[in-house]
């Protein structure tokens, strides 16, 4: 991975309101990067889903929003980190239709369909880190 990080900000996910706050920041940065309106809606919605996951499953964590550049292309990378219960079967969750709490089970699988790359690292009892990347279309 040879991306340059152009900017980085870390936001807490400590209250339900932070779902709205974090996605607003992602939206603002997406428009700063001049992502088109569909890509902006995609990253904003994915952020909403993933921030809510952190809040619902772990009751707290952080979101790190980065503007990145790789060669000629620029994009956003957002990382959601929590110290919650972790996910036992990541593959199954990513396939979708799987839900433990009050969600549609679309949080991870749906978000993955909205971005260019989404990775999940999770250890049961330790926590979960979800990272997505969305590149700006030329």
């Amino acid at each position: 991975m040879a991306e340059d990080v152009l900017s980085r900000e870390e936001l807490p996910i400590a209250r339900e309101d932070d779902v709205v706050f974090v996605r607003r920041r992602v939206r603002a940065i997406a428009s700063e990067q001049k992502l088109d309106s569909f890509a902006t809606a995609a990253v904003t919605t994915a952020t909403s889903e993933l921030t809510r996951n952190v809040w619902v499953h772990a009751r707290g964590g952080t979101a790190v929003i980065e503007q990145i550049r790789e060669g000629a292309r620029v994009g956003m990378r957002v990382t959601f980190r929590d110290s919650g219960p972790g996910i036992a079967d990541v593959e199954r969750v990513l396939r979708g239709g799987f839900s433990t709490a009050r969600s549609m089970g679309l949080g991870l699988s749906g978000s993955r369909r909205l971005v260019d790359a989404l990775t999940v690292e999770s250890e049961v009892g330790k926590g979960t880190t979800v990272t997505f990347v969305k590149w700006k279309a030329f």
């Binding site: 339900e16 569909f38 809606a41 909403s48 809510r52 979708g96 679309l106 749906g110 369909r113």
Partner: protein
């Protein structure tokens, strides 16, 4: 935290969602709408979401559920004005808002319920 106003237009209730919905506001809106339907014996409900730039799966589920709940009560519900970006995002996520009538805009939503808006 402010509630979303519910307007009466004849026998139809009109909800214009023009604030960003967090979980609490969305749930409260759902309850308020159901109570208003009972109170005013509304024949229809139109939820205008043209002001929403983001509809995640939680809010989409609240809207779909509201449609199902109003149907159980014997009233029809139309969700209108969904923005192109929202429609594309929900569909790409794999979300189906099944069971809810949708309309392009408020006028079409009202006419689906049998009310015509005409130029005077």
């Amino acid at each position: 935290m402010s509630a979303i106003p519910i307007l009466r237009l004849g026998h139809v209730l009109l909800v214009n969602v023009n604030v960003e919905l967090d979980d609490e506001i969305a749930t409260r809106m759902q309850n308020d709408v159901l109570l208003a339907i009972e109170r005013w014996e509304a024949e229809g409900l139109v939820i205008d979401i043209s002001g929403l730039e983001v509809v995640d799966s939680y809010v989409a589920r609240i809207l779909a559920e509201t449609g199902q709940m109003t149907k159980l009560m014997g009233t029809r519900c139309v969700v209108c004005g969904m923005r192109p970006e929202v429609a594309a995002t929900l569909t790409r996520m794999g979300y189906q808002m099944s069971g809810v009538m949708t309309a392009l805009n408020l006028a079409d939503g009202l006419s689906l319920l049998g009310y015509k808006l005409e130029r005077v």
